[in-house]
Structures are given as structure tokens and as C-alpha cells.
Symmetry: C2
Subunit: 323 residues, 2 copies
Amino acid sequence: MTRTILQSATKTATIGFDEPFCVIGERINPTGRKKLAAELEAGDFSTVERDAVLQVACGAMVLDVNAGVVYNSNPDPNVTEPPLMRQMIELVQGLVDVPLCIDSSVPAALEAGLGAAQGRPLVNSVTGEEDRLEMVLPLVKKYDVPVVAISNDDTGISEDPDIRFDVARKIVRRAADFGIPAHDIVVDPLVMPVGAMATAGRQVFALVRRLREELGVNTTCGASNISFGLPHRHGINAAFLPMAIGAGMTSAIMNPIRLVEMESIRAANMLMDHDPNGGEWIRFARVIEAVEQGASFAEASKSALAQAGAGRRGGRRSRASKG
Amino acid sequence: MTRTILQSATKTATIGFDEPFCVIGERINPTGRKKLAAELEAGDFSTVERDAVLQVACGAMVLDVNAGVVYNSNPDPNVTEPPLMRQMIELVQGLVDVPLCIDSSVPAALEAGLGAAQGRPLVNSVTGEEDRLEMVLPLVKKYDVPVVAISNDDTGISEDPDIRFDVARKIVRRAADFGIPAHDIVVDPLVMPVGAMATAGRQVFALVRRLREELGVNTTCGASNISFGLPHRHGINAAFLPMAIGAGMTSAIMNPIRLVEMESIRAANMLMDHDPNGGEWIRFARVIEAVEQGASFAEASKSALAQAGAGRRGGRRSRASKG
């Protein structure tokens, strides 16, 4: 049973076939967030701080950190991103105790993040492109960390799922040449918008199953892509996540502060027999009740966690701290 | 691709591998509804009338009709159920135009229902019990109708999914001896409460896949059983249904007047590529919006259907009327 182990200084998060679904919080990312990008250029990290605390409160088990801001004062990310990545990693791991996911297309920023991160972070990402393989895999090996492998290559993103599978297999094989085991590769099979490509859902479900059965790898995705362009996106996301989990997907990079998606994941965990005695579901049902009575999702989650912690003192540790 | 064809006097509903999920409304059933049972004994059919119209408005494509009331004045269902079934079938098909599902454990009530129903109703149900096979299958053959096959037998309901599969296979084979084809058998693999049996969800998903791949049959279930005894049941149901659909389940007997479950099914239809161009999802998103603004689900559905009908006049017919 494949397990990918991520660690902070004090906590372990496991992505695995027999584990609850791993929620990787996506919000610390200035891409497409102009206000956040401007704040970062001005040295204002208040949104990053808020997003770190909020995402963990709502149930994120890992936080993605992306420093891909294009400064108005200096448009070269090779210069600006590495120091910003280091600074953001240090800031975030000072605030929350979950493992991190270092997200950049700039190898020097990945290395800066790897130098700054405590424990065993996830690297996001390598692709099947030759230059990416040659730049990222040595870093992954050097730091002995797991990596997200995105299934596109020098020819781009194929609409043919068989080709995307082949790209994933190529990355797994190339990684093996570097001494990186398959259980340290988390494949992103690429989720297309179902509004633009009607087979997008079926493709992902079939791909996840193959990646799991034939390559033995964990999987992840940018979950909200599936609903891009559609009305009432959360309804599509909240059906997609359980279906992906049922097909064998083991993690997603997503926005954890939305109750409906997190609820669908908690329910799917229980239905996959990844929630012993339904303890997590029963706790989460109290959160839902509190939200229905007017509390914010983050507040309700924090108070449920505090209650559970009090009840468990000296007993079973919380899921996020299981080894 | 397996297709089970149900018909009323004017409408066809198809349960099939390549069809949108078939929602069979469960509410016209006095079992466990004391007030409804008392009404029926008193000759008051107002709740039946209301439930028929309401369920179809909310999106039920087939209505289950169960006349299993135990009269205080006469406790013998062999006497009381057949005439009541006939009366209820006639009443319901006078009010709504969807195909019906005749639900009884009393063979004479099934036959009374079959005599009264127009078109091609679904019979609910036969089991693997010898006496049921010998009583129900001849009726199914005589009326040339499809039948729900529940996977328990004379030894009861097995907790072992392999045994439940074997029971389903036995029913399919026995039906073949009667000249009833597999595509007219809709297997209910039996859904256990996941709160009592942690593997209940995984069992059903695996069973549905086997039933589909090895026996080529459509499947159904009493969907809400999965969440029995748990808090916030709708959250479990709304994850279970997409996961079951992803595994290949093609229908469920369920309460269609709950928005959250129906939303999860509409989203799953789109994700399975069973909603061409997302037309049904986009229409349903308007229903959700109207409900968020205070309308009841039934009202919002009716007005969305009316709008869609006006827009489509002379064009494509609504899904429920597709042949």
C-alpha cells in the first residue's frame, strides 16, 4: 500500500491508498490574485498569515506555498522568487505546524524553499519536459523529498488520457534512474474543465485507477479546474471529489475554506472506510451544525478541534499528527 | 450497453449504463409512516396525491408505489393489499405521467398492480428465496416487465459481498430459465449502514462494478440506508450517490424532494458525461439559485421546467420524455 510521507518539524501528513484523503491548501499563491501580489511586492504578508491559519483551521493537512509574483519593479522571477519563497516558507512554518508543499516553476525558488523548510516538504512540481526532469529530479533526490509529477511534456498537455498516462510513467521511470522511489511521486493526471470537455470527469477517474494499479503511485489534482466556467461550481466540485476518491485519488490541491467541498471529502473518507468508527464524521457534523447556526466554518472547526482535543487528552492523537 | 426500459402510458424512463442516473421516488409507501397508514385505511389519499406530484416536480423519473399497510381492521395483507395497490396505481397514474414501480412482498398485490398499471412498470421485487423466485418470475414473464432483484436468499442477507453477488447471479440465471433477459433485471446489492459496518460503502462500490461487468445488469439500491444512524445523513448520502454512480450504479430508490441529494446526482451525471453540453446542470443551477433566494425546491423545479419547456418548444424534448 503506497504511502507518501510529508513532515513539518513536528507533524506528519501521509498521502496513501489506505489513508484519509489529503487536503493540500492552495490559497497561498499570488497567481491570479492581484491584491495579494501587490501586497507581497510591498512586503505585506498579512494575507499570507491569515490564509495559513484559516486553511489549517478548516482542515488543510498540508499547505502549498507559491511565491510566483511578478514584481512591477523587477519582472525576472529567477531573481525575485527565491528570496520571497524562503521568506514565505519561514513565515508560514512559524505560524502553523502542518507540512508544506513548495510550489514553483523556478528551480532556484524550489531550492530556496527546500533549504528553508523544516521536515520533509512536498515539491510541486516536475513535468515530463526534458529540462524540468533534469533540473528538478536531482533536487528531489538531494533533499530526499516527494514530488508532484504533472503529466504534460514537451508536446504540451495531451487531451488523450493514454498519452498523459505515458508521460506519468516516463516521469516515474526517470525518477527511478535518480533513485527516487514511486511512493515519493504524486502524479497529477491533469483535470480539464468538464464544461469544455464532456469526458473530463471520466478521463480522470479512469486515469487515477490506472496510475494506482499500474504504477502504484499516489495522485493529486487541482480539483476546482473540473468546474471552471460552470454555474454553481461548488456543487460540481462536491460531487467530483467523492467520485475521484472512489476511483482512488489520494490528495487534492484545493481551497479548504469551503464547507461543502470539505464535507464531501469527510463523507467520502467514511464511505471508503478511512474514518474508523466515524469519529471524524461525527466531529464534522458538529461543525456543520454550528455553521448552520451562524458560526463561520473556521471558528466552528477550531472549537470542534478544541473540544475533541480535550476529550482525547492522553488518548488517540488527532489524525493530522498520526505517523 | 445494458438498457432497462420502463414506460407509462406516455413516457419512457431508461435505466442504463449510458443514461443519466434514474431516480425512483420512494415516498408513496406506508411502511414506517403511521400517519399515512392510518390515512390509507380511512380511504384518505391526499398524502399519496401530494407525494406523487411533489416527487415528480423535484425530478423523480419513476415512482415507487407500495400499498403495504397493515389495517387495524384486517391484518391480512393478502386480502387488503391487492385492492389497495390497484387503487393507488390508478390514482397515481392519473396524476403524473412517469412510469411506476410496483412494490410489494405480496404476489397478489404485484399482480393487481400489474393489471392496473399502464405501459411497462418495474416490479419491486424478487429475491433469491426459492418461493419468491417461483411466485414472482412467472408474473414478470407473463407481463413482460423488468424486475428488481434483491440479493438475499433463504439464508437471509449475507454480510459477505461475494455471497450477495452469487445470489444475484442465481436470480439472473433463474430468470433466464423463464425467458427473462438480464437487461430486464435491476439488481439491488443491498446497502448496509456504514455507521454499523465500516466496509459498507466499499462493498457496494465493488459489488456494483462486478454486477455490471460480470452480469451486465443495471443496479439500484435504497440509497439512504447507507447513512442510517449517523448525524447529518444528507451529507453522507450526497457523497455516496456520486461514488455509487462513479462505480457504475444506474438507479436508486430514494427521496427526491431533498435538494442536496438531487444536486449531487445532477453533478455526477455531468461528470459521467451523461449530461450533453451540461444543459441539465445549467438548468438545475437556476433551481439552486431560486432555492437560495427562498423558493421551495418543488416550486423552483417546476418553474425551471416550465421555462425550459418554453425555450425548447418544437425542439429537443425534456429528458424524461426521451424514448
